[in-house]
């Protein structure tokens, strides 16, 4: 119990320290800076919310969400000629099908989640190469403004991200399938013995992750008006880092979407502050890495008690 209090104290101090460090950084609270921060959080945050579900159900992480995001952007842009809504729905369906197929392999056939996601990644990259011949895709139709701009001064991307967080947390705490996912992640055998379909729960987690990645892809494509398969490069690792920094257990079973929101914010704030304070490139990478590592270690120690 005592270690636990110490860990809690360290956590509060850490958050407070980061907050003070941020707020005393000149320009951090300026509109421009906050907007840049919100944008950065939004795109990576959506993927991280999806990743939370994968981690929570005990499947560690997916290396395929970044590629799903990129491929979704390509699908969205090239199907725009059919109209904005059909294109959006088609993209959503695509993202869901791609990851749900992986969920089925992992849930029903007990395939290793990491290997399945690597296979998914290779298939997506290969498939996109075949389909596009490796060229950048530009919008095949109009109407992208729907996904750009601001409402009440807040970027639409950020609004969308917060909606995702709310929806994700709702699914997790208020729905039966959400509870089932936490049970499967905590103890899959006990969940089976309690009459829960573990395979269905795992598949559903991947469905959510796919939907999140797809919508992130749509937003990125709309914002920059073009897309290629490198759009989502690096998103998988940043997302899992955010999930872990938030304190979702890598073994599954314990965690929440709100925690991931905190994790994404903490990482983004640190990066922004280091940039604003003019640290050299090398130091930025080094310090961010060290902070992420120590926060995750802190959780591990707290878990062990």
């Amino acid at each position: 119990m005592r270690t636990r209090h110490i860990v809690l104290a360290i956590r509060i101090i850490t958050i407070a320290a980061i907050a003070i460090f941020a707020l005393t950084t000149p320009g951090f609270t300026s509109q421009i800076s906050i907007n840049a921060l919100l944008n950065a959080i939004s795109f990576i945050g959506c993927v991280a919310v999806g990743m939370t579900f994968i981690t929570l159900t005990g499947n560690i992480m997916s290396l395929c969400l970044g590629a799903t995001l990129s491929a979704s952007a390509l699908i969205f842009l090239s199907s725009l000629s059919a109209g904005i809504l059909p294109a959006f729905l088609l993209t959503l369906l695509f993202g869901i099908v791609v990851t749900a197929a992986q969920g089925v392999l992992i849930g029903y056939f007990r395939a290793n989640p990491i290997l399945v996601s690597i296979a998914g990644l290779s298939l997506l990259i290969g498939g996109a190469d075949l389909a596009t011949g490796g060229v950048r895709i530009y919008p095949g139709g109009e109407g992208l403004q729907v996904f750009k701009g601001r409402i009440a001064g807040i970027p639409i991307e950020a609004l969308y991200f917060f909606a995702t967080v709310v929806a994700g947390q709702f699914i997790l705490s208020w729905t039966r399938i959400g509870r089932a996912m936490a049970m499967v992640g905590s103890n899959a055998r006990a969940a089976t013995a309690a009459g829960i379909s573990t395979a269905a729960a795992v598949t559903f987690a991947y469905v959510i992750a796919g939907a999140c990645a797809a919508v992130s892809g749509v937003l990125l494509a709309a914002r920059y008006g073009s897309g290629d398969m490198e759009l989502g490069t690096g998103y998988d690792y940043t997302a899992i880092a955010a999930v872990l920094v938030g304190g979702t257990a890598i073994q599954g079973g314990s965690g929440s979407v709100v925690r991931t929101l905190i994790g994404v914010t903490v990482i983004a704030v640190i990066e922004v502050v280091l940039l604003l304070r003019g640290f050299s490139q090398q130091l930025q990478y080094l310090i961010t890495g060290l902070i992420v590592l120590s926060v995750i270690m802190l959780h591990t120690i707290g878990e062990r008690r």
């Binding site: 936490a182 905590s186 079973g253």
Partner: protein, 500 residues
Amino acid sequence: MPGQPILAVKGVTKRFGPNEVLKKVTLSIGAQEICAICGENGAGKSTLVKVFTGVHQVDGGVVLVDGKPTAIPSPLHAQELGIALVAQELSLAPALSVLDNIWLGNRKVPLFHRRKELRDRAQAALEKIGLGDLPLETPVSQLSIGRRQLVEIARMLTRDARVLILDEPTATLSDVEIERIFSALRVLKAEGKSIIYITHRLGEVFEICDTVSVLRNGELVGTRPTAEIDREHLMEMMLGRNMGEMYPRWDSKPGEPMLTVKHLRVPPIVQDFNLVAERGMVICLAGQVGSGAIEVLRALVGLAADATGEVSVAGQTVRLRSVAKSRAANVQFISEDRAGEGIFLRLSVGQNLVATRLSDHTRLGILERSKLRATASRLASAVGVDLKRLRSHADELSGGNQQKLAFGRSIGGDDPGVLLMNEPTRGVDVGARAEIYRLIRQFCDRGYCLIMASSDIEEVLGMSDIIVSMYRGRQIGSYRRGEASLHRVLADITHPVAAA
């Protein structure tokens, strides 16, 4: 008992926190001797073994090796002294060959060694225990459990072990395999080795051992040569304790038949199991590990993938092999593996309590959280879990309280159903045990149909309206309350006459 003892303990005491698990135990093993150590679960047998093998250090008394007081600070040290444990959970590496496994972890293999010499010595060890025909290259994963145990013994021989400790070696073996182990042990004994043989099965004590020492509650009850003692006497030594207090008093009130099982097969253990269980009754399947009692209950709740047979609950046929279907038919289950299969350690106490009731608290896929909380509170009070702990993580609870969660989860429907329990008090301390027994009786009075599988003979006698004794997958006997004698049941589950 020729010559001076090879290994002995004198007045050894071992404490874990406030619990004394060994109390001034004194016993010794000579050369060319097979010494049985018997006792119930929790009697202190495993702790004693761990003292011999250097895992635990004593809090009082001395360990004597060759008559001299000796400290055994680590398992490595024990290996160097020639004391070797053939563990219950085998420590072989399945992917490696027999040869590699025999030499794995042996500290005496020099960095530059001659492969040929190692092969010869491994071959010699295998021949000694009757495995001379086994190719050294065979991967261990291809061997039966019995043969693996023999390979493990061969490994100990190459380490020049003088004292071999076998912990429940026959628990999961077939008759033929047990016979192989016995003949190997006889050869080793003739060679001058000492063997400590830990077992539940009394028949084996008389078949293979020279002396038997009985532990009870951490104390040594006594040591006798097997030639001077009979089975009845040995049982009395093991069970000589007051059985009142612990178990609630009750009157059997048989109700209408609730659960009918016909021709249940659970490969590879259970061949043909039949049972009619009534409401308001506690039925105990009494049996050791490997008796099939646990497997029967697992199959009834849908957790055995290849079980076949006819099962009906309240006249309705229930499909086997589906947990969801069984649960829907109001068949609830408490697993024997609490940490592995029972409790969600990273979820809260409240979430654990309602784990099987989610479908009753969902509308359009959305949980009715206030109703869930009310149910969790109700179940917590029903099984005596402090309401303040509803939000704590389940892993903060003691074993007894965790078991209460498993109970809470299985009761509380409006319609009393079938409750299946595997080893309901395993790893639970005495106080919580009594509470759990009271709970079981309460359910019984409310019209539940309860079936429990247990290897704890005292519990079986103390709790059941009907006892079904089982041995290696077969039903041996069936007794109504009062008809069963302790000796009879113990004989059934350890060494039934019919099976001899």
